[in-house]
């Protein structure tokens, strides 16, 4: 899509302009208008339109919500998830703390320590969803695609803390082994042709 289409401010192609008829100026024009409307039978046109909608099969616009759901966009920013590395099953999060820093609602909190291999390990990771504004900065800033947004928008719960703790957000191992961990295609994720941009670092300059 070119920039021209974004810069175009008038919505001409999508709109149908209605040419309102002029008001009758004298009694004779008013009478002619009444006769015209009566012969056209506008009331019966209205009756036919609603009857046509009734006898047409399957044009209901109702979505019976708990049973049927509308698809949501891939960039939809619902509740957060922590993902795992594809090969090693380890958590992707390296504890860099960028999400904690960039969070404008100040609602991410993490605790890290060094494990026996000297690798940074995240002991606690929580998001206060009472404050989170779902801006998506954390997912955008994450260098490892570890914290992402999921499409789970049905998150009513009995407890305020639900969904916001590390064990709620981290992909469970059995889900991961069933290869059901979903990558997030939206905000901050790699584009589909990301591989084509990778260049080998030359050995000698």
């Amino acid at each position: 899509m070119s920039l021209e289409q974004f810069k175009k401010r008038d919505a001409t192609p999508g709109y149908i302009y209605f040419q309102a008829e002029e008001k009758p100026k004298n009694a004779w024009e008013a009478f002619k208008r009444v006769v015209r409307i009566s012969i056209k039978g506008e009331l019966f046109v209205g009756l036919w339109i609603v009857l046509r909608e009734m006898i047409t099969k399957g044009n209901s616009h109702t979505v019976q919500y708990p049973a049927e759901k509308l698809p949501i966009g891939p960039r939809y920013r619902a509740i957060h998830k922590l993902l795992r590395l594809l090969e090693s099953e380890n958590e992707r999060c390296i504890g860099c703390g960028l999400c904690e820093k960039i969070c404008i609602a100040n609602c991410i909190r993490m605790d890290t320590r060094l494990d026996e291999n000297g690798r940074k390990q995240i002991t606690e990771y929580s998001i206060n969803f009472g404050r989170c504004i779902f801006c998506g900065y954390c997912a955008e800033v994450c260098p490892e695609l570890a914290i992402v947004h999921s499409g789970d928008y049905e998150n009513a719960s009995e407890q305020r803390a639900h969904y916001g703790l590390k064990e709620d957000m981290l992909t469970p191992l059995d889900t991961f082994r069933a290869k059901e961990q979903k990558e997030f295609p939206g905000f901050g994720a790699l584009s589909e042709n990301a591989d084509s941009f990778v260049k080998k670092t030359p050995l000698a300059y």
Binding site: L43, G46, L47, V50, E53, M54, S60, H61, T62, Q64
Partner: protein, 330 residues
């Protein structure tokens, strides 16, 4: 036949009419929601029972168990009595309506009319218009401005259209020469061509329009139009008292459908191979559907437009119709 037998027969008929018509009225609310939904590309009630058919039961339970609120400053006895007037008037009007042709059950001939009085039409129209007191008293006793406006609109609307429907009926009655609905039905016994609608098309049109106004249906639903006067006379009502108004309204719709079918469309006379009982059910089903259909299709009118329509268009037309009918008869 002895006195007791007549009393028992009348009581059984009355109870049957009450039960069947109340059931039809309740079912009409369900049909109304479904038909309106399909016409507006929706599904309507879907969750209670298959395709929402048990919504009726759910609504009944809701109406009966809701708290019955009586406003502090209302005039309490009148406020309590007003909703009862609506269904009482509507069901009393049905006493003189023949619902089906005569039939024989266990060797006993039943005439499906509670009281065959010789002024049947007059009785039905009179009692049905006495139902006007329900919204009037309800609105005036509620001490609520919306209710009062609703009551005022009730009076102007129902009184005005009484004139139109009365004058519209006069012309066919001049042709028939009887006020009994059974005589009117028998007058049209010679097939479709003898239906009154061919002789009195204008009276038919005027009577149907007046019927819409007298049952407060769109396009003339001024007296409880939500966008203008909240809910009109029913603003302060809740629970079953509110429900009684609607039982009355739907019973009135059924009565008007019966009247139009009997007076103008050949009533319960058999047609081709279809027996008369089925015929009249088909006709009133069509008119009930027409009430819902029009509600889905047409906007409603302003009060001043309605009064203009009534007094400057419909009433002169009705008078003209009577005049022409009179000239032809002489």
């Amino acid at each position: 036949m002895s006195e007791t037998a007549i009393v028992i027969e009348t009581v059984i008929k009355a109870v049957t009419v009450l039960a069947v018509v109340a059931g039809m009225a309740a079912f009409a609310t369900f049909i109304e929601r479904k038909v309106l939904a399909f016409m507006q590309r929706r599904l309507g009630p879907m969750h209670v029972g298959p395709h929402g058919i048990l919504q009726l039961a759910a609504d009944g339970i809701k109406l009966f168990t809701k708290e019955d609120i009586i406003p502090q400053h209302s005039i309490k006895p009148i406020f309590k009595i007003a909703p009862i007037i609506a269904p009482v008037a509507a069901f009393t009007a049905m006493a003189a309506v023949p619902f089906l042709p005569e039939f024989t059950i266990f060797g006993y001939t039943v005439r499906p009319i509670i009281a065959d009085i010789n002024v049947g039409v007059l009785f039905v129209m009179g009692v049905a218009s006495a139902g006007m007191y329900a919204p009037l008293l309800a609105g005036m006793s509620s001490t609520n401005k919306w209710a009062l406006l609703g009551a005022a609109r009730t009076v102007i609307q129902l009184l005005s259209f009484e004139v139109v429907s009365g004058l519209a009926l006069l012309a066919p009655l001049m042709l028939i020469g009887s006020l009994s609905l059974i005589d009117i039905n028998d007058f049209q016994a010679n097939g479709v061509t003898s239906w009154m609608v061919w002789k009195q098309p204008l009276a038919f049109l005027l009577f149907v329009i007046a019927g819409f106004a007298e049952t407060n249906r769109t396009p003339f639903d001024l007296i409880e139009y939500e966008a203008e006067i909240v809910s009109g006379y029913a603003t302060d009502y809740s629970g079953m008292r509110w429900g009684l108004f609607f039982v009355g309204e739907y019973a009135n719709m059924i009565t008007v459908s019966f009247l139009v079918s009997i007076i103008f469309l050949g009533g319960y006379n058999p047609f081709w191979i279809i027996p008369g009982g089925i015929m009249i059910l088909l006709k009133i089903s069509f008119f009930i559907f027409l009430f819902l259909w029009v509600r889905a299709a047409w906007p409603h009118v302003r009060p001043d437009q309605m009064m203009w329509l009534c007094w400057k268009v419909l009433m002169p037309l009705a008078l003209l119709n009577i005049l022409i009918t009179g000239m032809v008869l002489i």
